[in-house]
């Protein structure tokens, strides 16, 4: 009995009891499945069955054949462009809310985050009826006797607009949370010491909030890079992305091993982006003081 009570006093045991189940769950149902596709990616598929015959053919195909590489590069370019646009647009908005939001900060931020939760498919539905050939924009133009805007109909541009629509809330939220913990009086210090507003921004605000910004970039880049529904329903005939090729392997093609290799390539590419951004955060020694700040 005494032994048991002594155990209860030990904080390490309590910590493990509380944190353990969730941690174990994530390891079992997120990390191990992810590792399993790494294994499958070195196997091969024969009539819809995986066969443990170790080889690197899948990677040779994904990285060596232009039809796959082309889609990979296109997806990366799309993700980079969408992240950049979200970054440039979200920054001023987040800054305004954080600095001048006053007592409405919470409402203003929740309003930007809310649409994210309405679900990807329904938001794409909404986008389609506005940008599509018989969507609001083109119908309005035709009513007015003007020409429809071709680039908005089933193109990569429409796809990009859809992706920005889906993921800009993440960027804004990440930057806002960083600015929320940022001491704006530091700017006053910079200005008192002779920095003009723009100079003060790039000397003080931007570096100190780079970590939050980098998190925002990652949070937009990864789902954009892996977006399948948006390019499929908004992108039109040329809209297909790397992920759509990947899905094809798991669907009608039934080439599971090749699909797994494509998944691994996606994962590695995402990790590379995270790693590069993490290096810049460390190099800049952003004023990160810990989670509770």
């Amino acid at each position: 009995m005494k032994g048991r009570r002594a155990l209860l006093l030990d904080p390490r045991v309590r910590f493990a009891t509380l944190v353990g189940p969730g941690a174990l769950f994530i390891v079992l149902f997120l990390l191990i499945p992810l590792l399993s596709i790494v294994v499958f990616s070195f196997w091969r598929t024969e009539s819809y069955e995986l066969i443990s015959d170790w080889n690197v053919n899948n990677y040779e195909a994904v990285l060596g054949e232009w039809i796959y590489l082309k889609f990979l590069l296109k997806s990366l370019a799309m993700a980079a462009a969408v992240s950049a646009i979200c970054l440039v647009y979200a920054w001023p908005c987040a800054y305004l809310i954080a600095k001048h939001g006053g007592r409405y900060k919470l409402v203003l931020v929740l309003l930007t985050a809310a649409p994210f939760l309405t679900g990807i498919l329904l938001r794409i539905t909404a986008m389609q009826q506005i940008l599509g050939p018989i969507g609001l924009v083109n119908m309005a133009l035709m009513e007015l006797g003007a020409q429809p805007i071709q680039v908005l109909m089933y193109t990569n541009i429409a796809s990009a607009v859809g992706l920005i629509y889906l993921w800009i809330p993440f960027m804004l939220l990440a930057i806002y949370l960083s600015l929320f913990n940022f001491n704006f009086e530091l700017l006053e210090v910079a200005k008192v010491n002779g920095a003009r507003p723009w100079r003060a921004f790039f000397e003080v605000t931007w570096p100190l909030n780079w970590m939050g910004t980098a998190i925002g970039i990652v949070l937009v880049f990864i789902p954009t890079f892996a977006a399948s529904v948006t390019p499929r329903f908004l992108g039109g005939p040329d809209g297909s992305m790397f992920v759509n090729r990947l899905e094809h392997q798991f669907g009608s093609a039934g080439t599971w091993a090749l699909g797994s290799a494509m998944g691994v390539v996606m994962c590695v590419a995402s990790l590379a982006v995270i790693f590069v951004l993490w290096r810049t955060v460390r190099l800049r020694r952003a004023g990160f003081t810990g989670a509770g700040a």
Binding site: R14, F15, T17, L18, V19, P21, G22, A23, I26, F29, L30, P33, S36, F40, L50, Y89, Y95, L96, I97, H100, G102, R103, L106, V107, L110, L111, T112, P115, L117, T118, G119, I120, L121, L122, R123, I124, T125, A126, Q128, Q129, I130, G132, L136, Y165, I168, P197, L219, I222, P223, A226, S228, V229, F233, E247, F250, S260, S270, I274, A291, G292
Partner: protein, 272 residues
């Protein structure tokens, strides 16, 4: 913000315009969907002619009720597991200053940085080829939890950093055992955060497409029904479905907003 010079005013004006444009960009499609859902002509619905036909059609759609039920099941299951794991982990991490707890925080946030579709296909492959489990509601709940637990964790952690754990110590010194302490002191103070996490993870599980799609086999859910319909072009029933879901989401978010206000009062901090 007393002495604002003209240049600064110009910048603030520009930022305000951008923010308003963003709200318009985010919300116009949502409200327009609602408008279309009650319009007889949904190609060029001007002037408006009202109809309830799309809702009627949705209600008699064969899969709709089953799909709704399944989505609710996935949502509730995901939310229950996510909230349980996230609450326990957040308490453990904030309460006990174990040296390597940073690793655990990273682990709980890791799902945020994995593309949903990768979670979907990897769990599908693992369940099918290693465990031999067919796709069903349960495996969809498990896979969704592996993703939503991050959001639940963030929501709870963000609010619990403001809770003073010494209250638990007070209760223990005065004779409350650990469970009693949780019931009498901890939970009455943190329930808004816990309920907030539950709602967020419910919505994520309820609406999820990419993870659910690969894990439910042929069992219909609302997002997979929407996907099936979208493949053949938009049917007006989708507007009705979207409007119902959007209304539900906004209602739940309004509850969260109220909870944050209550939570802020409870934890004794100014409510901004």
């Amino acid at each position: 913000m007393a002495a604002v010079n003209p240049g600064a005013r110009f910048v603030i004006g520009g930022q305000t315009a951008m923010l308003l444009a963003l709200y318009l960009f985010l919300y116009f499609p949502i409200f327009y969907t609602g408008y279309l859902s009650i319009m007889e002509n949904n190609v060029w619905p001007f002037p408006p002619v009202f109809t309830g036909e799309w809702y009627d059609r949705l209600m008699i759609m064969s899969d709709f009720h089953v799909g709704l039920l399944n989505s609710v099941l996935i949502g509730v299951g995901t939310a229950s597991l996510s909230t349980l794991f996230a609450t326990a982990a957040a308490i453990g991490i904030l309460r006990y200053p174990i040296r390597r707890r940073g690793v655990i925080v990273v682990l709980f946030l890791a799902p945020l940085f994995v593309a949903q579709i990768l979670i979907g296909i990897s769990t599908l492959m693992f369940n099918r080829n290693v465990l031999g489990i067919p796709g069903n509601i349960e495996s969809a709940i498990v896979a969704n939890t592996a993703y939503s637990v991050s959001f639940a964790f963030l929501v709870i952690l963000a609010q619990l950093v403001r809770y003073d754990w010494r209250f638990d110590e007070v209760a223990q010194v005065f004779g409350a055992r650990p469970f009693r302490t949780f019931r009498e002191v901890t939970f009455p103070n943190i329930w808004p955060a816990v309920l907030g996490a539950f709602i967020i993870s419910f919505i994520l599980g309820f609406n999820n497409f990419e993870i659910t799609f690969y894990n439910v086999a042929a069992i219909p859910t609302l997002p997979t029904i929407a996907w099936g319909t979208l493949r053949h072009g938009i049917e007006p029933e989708l507007y009705a479905l979207a409007t119902i879901v959007n209304a539900l989401v906004f209602l739940l978010l309004f509850i969260i907003y109220l909870l944050i206000r209550v939570g802020a009062l409870r934890l004794g901090v100014p409510d901004d």
